[in-house]
């Protein structure tokens, strides 16, 4: 499978610089998610790959093939649009067949391929229905079928599930994963929803507000080892402490003003200089919360419970520390009748191990 490579791509609309010197390699045959907040330029990036927009400078390759100046209708890339963009004057069959019809493929082959493709997206029973009579999820499937029938090198999906309700979205995500592993086509999935991205992606790229790619990696890599506080906060949620790195008795600690010293583990991935200022990212679910004092933890803080949000499978506590800092903690609701009930204004102890902290430069 051929990789998609973007090399030093620049794109601006008037004075509005969207992408600046962006380089990215999307592994061929993978399910790749492009995750970023609204306005991060991820849709522009997608439109550049599709060919709706042209780069101001830079190059785009598929394998060794430079497609930078190939017009959209000559690129073997298809898009599933956010609002499907199905042709309202055509029925399901005509919509799905469109790409083949405009290429002048024989009628018999088209018929055969449409049926086969509709089967893949479980729409074979709706083949001659007008588009307006389909539900949102079915329209989504038609959009998918219309794209994959052309056997593209790359399938681009621009927030394809944004208009669907939660349950349907979860089901479509699973279907998308199945479809991708069956077709082995490179899927590039643009979303601002970290849950979707984490679910579907083999690899993902995180874009920030400046249109820069902060980090590329597997979902697990990105969640467990974020490269910056932006990534840590955008993918999942986290508590960030600012402190100074120190060496003590052969180990490392971070001194956070007003809160004290915390033991940290220095990962092999990234080295920090002693005495440098850095950020400590601590995920809420990696903290133990308890009313009684515990043994065997490297780090400890105390505070009072300020807010409790019950999510069903977990509960989120907001704990206010003595210096006014607020720490968010998730606790699994494992027990039907918890032996210890934490309530508002309770004094609680927070514990974590030194491996649970990720050190960040910014």
């Amino acid at each position: 499978m051929r990789n998609i490579r973007l090399k030093h791509v620049n794109k601006a609309f008037g004075d509005d610089v969207i992408l600046e010197n962006l380089s990215l390699t999307i592994p061929g045959g993978s399910f790749f998610a492009l995750l970023g907040p609204s306005g991060s330029g991820k849709t522009t990036l997608l439109r550049l790959i599709a060919g709706f927009e042209t780069v101001d400078s830079g190059e785009i390759y598929i394998g060794d093939h430079n497609i930078t100046h190939i017009p959209i209708n000559k690129r073997n890339i298809n898009t599933v649009f956010q609002h499907y963009a199905l042709f309202p004057h055509m029925n399901v069959f005509e919509n799905v067949a469109y790409g083949l019809v405009v290429k002048g493929i024989a009628k018999g082959i088209i018929e055969q391929k449409v049926r086969r493709t509709l089967k893949k997206v479980h729409l074979e029973r709706h083949i001659y229905k007008p588009i307006q009579r389909l539900s949102g999820g079915q329209q989504q499937r038609v959009a998918l079928a219309r794209a994959i029938i052309n056997e593209p090198d790359v399938l681009l999906l621009d927030e394809p599930l944004a208009a669907l309700d939660l349950k349907l979205r979860e089901r479509m995500l699973v279907e998308l994963i199945d479809l991708q592993s069956e077709l082995k086509t490179t899927f590039v999935y643009v979303t601002h929803d970290q849950f979707e991205a984490l679910t579907v992606a083999d690899y993902m790229a995180i874009m920030n507000y400046d249109g820069e790619i902060e980090q590329v990696g597997t979902p697990k890599d990105i969640y467990e080892f974020p490269i910056s506080s932006f990534v840590a906060k955008f993918v999942g949620s986290t508590n960030i402490f600012k402190g100074v790195l120190q060496e003590k008795n052969g180990g490392f600690t971070v001194e956070v003003p007003e809160l004290g010293c915390f033991e940290v583990a220095m990962s092999k991935r990234r080295k920090f200089d002693i005495a440098s200022t850095l950020l400590m990212s601590l995920r809420p679910e990696k903290i133990e919360i308890n009313k009684k004092e515990q043994e065997g933890f490297a780090n400890h803080l105390t505070g009072t419970v300020e807010a409790i949000i019950y999510y069903g499978r977990s509960t989120q506590y907001t704990v206010k520390l003595k210096n006014g800092f607020k720490v968010s903690v998730f606790e699994q609701n494992e027990e039907h009748f918890p032996h210890e009930v934490i309530d508002y204004d309770d004094v609680v102890h927070l514990y974590w191990q030194k491996e649970n902290v990720v050190l960040l430069e910014r």
Binding site: I72, N73, N78, T79, H89, V102, A147
Partner: protein, 286 residues
């Protein structure tokens, strides 16, 4: 549940009363006069009897070549006017709807501006352009394209120019209205699926604009068939069209039955042709 039912009943009554004035208006000023004309067309012109005498005779005169040729001439005028308007209006509407952007409103205003001026006045503006010593002849002579001025005014050419000029906005606006609502992402989708711009136009844009084309077609075709003012002014009264012939019957010859019969007969021709086109458009949509 009960309240809902009551509400719909109330709203039915209300809408009935709201439609009533318009209906009465149409009844008095359209259907009754129309009935009178149909009735008149069967009456033998007679000064002797009080009770009218019915006859088909007026209708038989239409197989006369004069009336026949007037209807054909009018039909030709309205079909060519409609066709030329369509060919000119579509690109204008397309540009306005999809590419004019911030100039859209200014251009639309300019397009609708002639509506604010009576056509009699507008046609005098055309006189200045088309006269022997008018703008067009002057330019053509000074460029050396022609040696002596052309006779432009009071010709069929002038009539066609006037008709197309006058009816163009009626074609542009309905087409503009549908194209303006067209989801341009569908154009993106079509290109994305490998279609050329040309194919995209014929397979995606045009089919969706057919309702607007159809509306524009009838808004130009039907009134231009009976158009009276433009052929009279621009043609200098030298060419007889359906409108001018009807007016000739009623106001010059004072032959009301024959005029009525001609009105009914030409309306029938128009109705049949219009229904044919309506049927064609319906088939294009489905």
């Amino acid at each position: 549940m009960n309240r809902d039912i009551n509400n719909t009943e109330v709203s039915k009554n209300v809408s009935f009363f709201m439609a009533l004035p318009a209906f009465v208006w149409l009844l008095i000023f359209l259907y009754i006069p129309l009935g009178v004309i149909v009735a008149l067309s069967f009456i033998r012109k007679s000064v002797v009897s009080i009770w009218p005498d019915f006859t088909w005779a007026h209708y038989l005169t239409f197989f006369d070549s004069l009336y026949y040729s007037v209807i054909v001439r009018s039909l030709t005028l309205s079909i060519i006017t409609t066709a030329v308007c369509l060919l000119c209006a579509y690109p204008i509407a397309y540009f306005l709807a999809l590419h004019a952007q911030k100039w859209k409103n200014v251009l639309l205003y300019l397009l609708a501006l002639p509506f604010g001026v009576n056509f009699v006045i507008l046609s005098y503006a055309w006189f200045f352009l088309l006269e022997k010593n008018g703008f067009i002849n002057n330019i053509l002579t000074s460029l050396g394209i022609i040696s002596s001025p052309l006779q432009l005014l009071n010709t069929q050419f002038a009539i066609y120019v006037g008709m197309i000029y006058c009816y163009l906005p009626f074609m542009v606006l309905p087409i503009y209205a549908v194209l303006e609502k067209l989801d341009i992402r569908l154009i993106d989708a079509s290109l994305d699926l490998g279609a050329t711009r040309f194919t995209t136009f014929w397979r995606v844009v045009f089919p969706q604009s057919i309702p607007g084309v159809s509306t524009g077609f009838f808004m130009v075709f039907i009134p231009s068939f009976g158009e009276y003012v433009i052929p009279t002014l621009m043609g200098g009264g030298k060419f007889m069209y359906v409108g001018s012939l009807i007016s000739h019957y009623f106001s010059v010859l004072r032959n009301l039955p024959l005029g009525s019969a001609f009105t009914v007969a030409s309306s029938m021709v128009l109705l049949i042709v219009a229904l044919f086109f309506y049927w064609r458009f319906r088939r294009m949509v489905s």
